[in-house]
Amino acid sequence: MKELKEENQKESILEKTAREYYVSGNEELSKKRNNSAVVLFFKSLVALVDLYIYKKLKITPSSHNHRFSIVKEKFNDIYNLLDKDFPFYQDSYNILMSKELAEVIREDAEKIAKEIGLNL
């Protein structure tokens, strides 16, 4: 019973953060703050990937490295998606990001949300 409660709590935290970043990403995008939007959509994506991992394996990654190694080993499509978008998150402090890029990362977050049946 206690375990079930903990599981629900973890899931609800990840859902809440994924939504919060997603909504904030949209707000930043509407203000043409593309770099902020990229970072926020990527964070939403990461929360959704963690939720995906948690639902499948009942573990939560402790770092980006851990997350990457889990998805690389177990969920190749998700690995490809994260690996594709991660460099933009890393470079977001010194490169001007485009609206198109923010929309691509938002779409990737939406794809994972759909995969786990979550309304963002």
Partner: protein, 188 residues
């Protein structure tokens, strides 16, 4: 073993790809590097497609190297955008993983580095040492022969861009009076 590319790789890629270019410290002779920088240059297609095609290329390139691959995707508009701080490095030093030629050769330009040096203030033994370093001695090749450089005039040599580090490091041990000029030559 780490393959220090500048080699043609056997890659499968979309016809929307103009070139796949290795750049950064991994192509520089005499430089240590932690990852392999690769830029994929596309025709004008949606960014989403660029990124997906780049991922497919990355998976293939990973098989040739034992270091992480850092991919960047551009079309010609985003490549020349003022916000692209990597463009000079890609344009001047970048080498195609498709053709093993310089990326700039797509535009009819061959990059070269010219090193202008003066030996006037050196002692005779250092002048001789400098000469041996460039031209070799006793059957051993000098830097010019080893790295495909050439003497244009007394005091002026021309070298491939990727050899900048190794020439400067070696020659500056003998003289600090070296000026660097980065140029493009017309291919034809």
């Amino acid at each position: 073993m780490q393959k220090k590319s500048q080699k043609k790789l056997d890659l499968t890629y979309s016809e929307e790809v103009i070139d796949i270019v290795q750049f950064g410290s991994s192509i520089m002779n005499g430089k240590t590097f932690n990852d392999i920088d690769v830029a994929v240059i596309f025709n004008k297609i949606p960014l989403k497609d660029q990124l997906e095609y780049s991922q497919e290329i990355k998976r293939q390139i990973e098989k040739y190297f034992d270091k992480p691959i850092h991919m960047q995707s551009y079309d010609l508009y985003s490549f020349f955008d003022k916000g692209n701080f990597a463009k000079e490095s890609i344009l001047f030093y970048g080498k195609s993983l498709i053709t093993d030629e310089y990326f700039s050769q797509n535009f009819g330009l061959i990059p070269k580095i010219q090193l202008n040096y003066s030996l006037i203030k050196l002692e005779k033994k250092d002048k001789i040492k400098f000469n041996y370093t460039l031209n070799g001695r006793g059957g051993n090749y000098g830097l010019l022969r080893q790295y495909n450089g050439k003497l244009l005039n007394p005091g002026l040599i021309e070298i491939p861009p990727e050899c900048e580090e190794v020439f400067l490091k070696t020659l500056k041990e003998i003289t600090s009076d070296i000026k660097i000029n980065k140029t493009f030559k017309m291919s034809q």
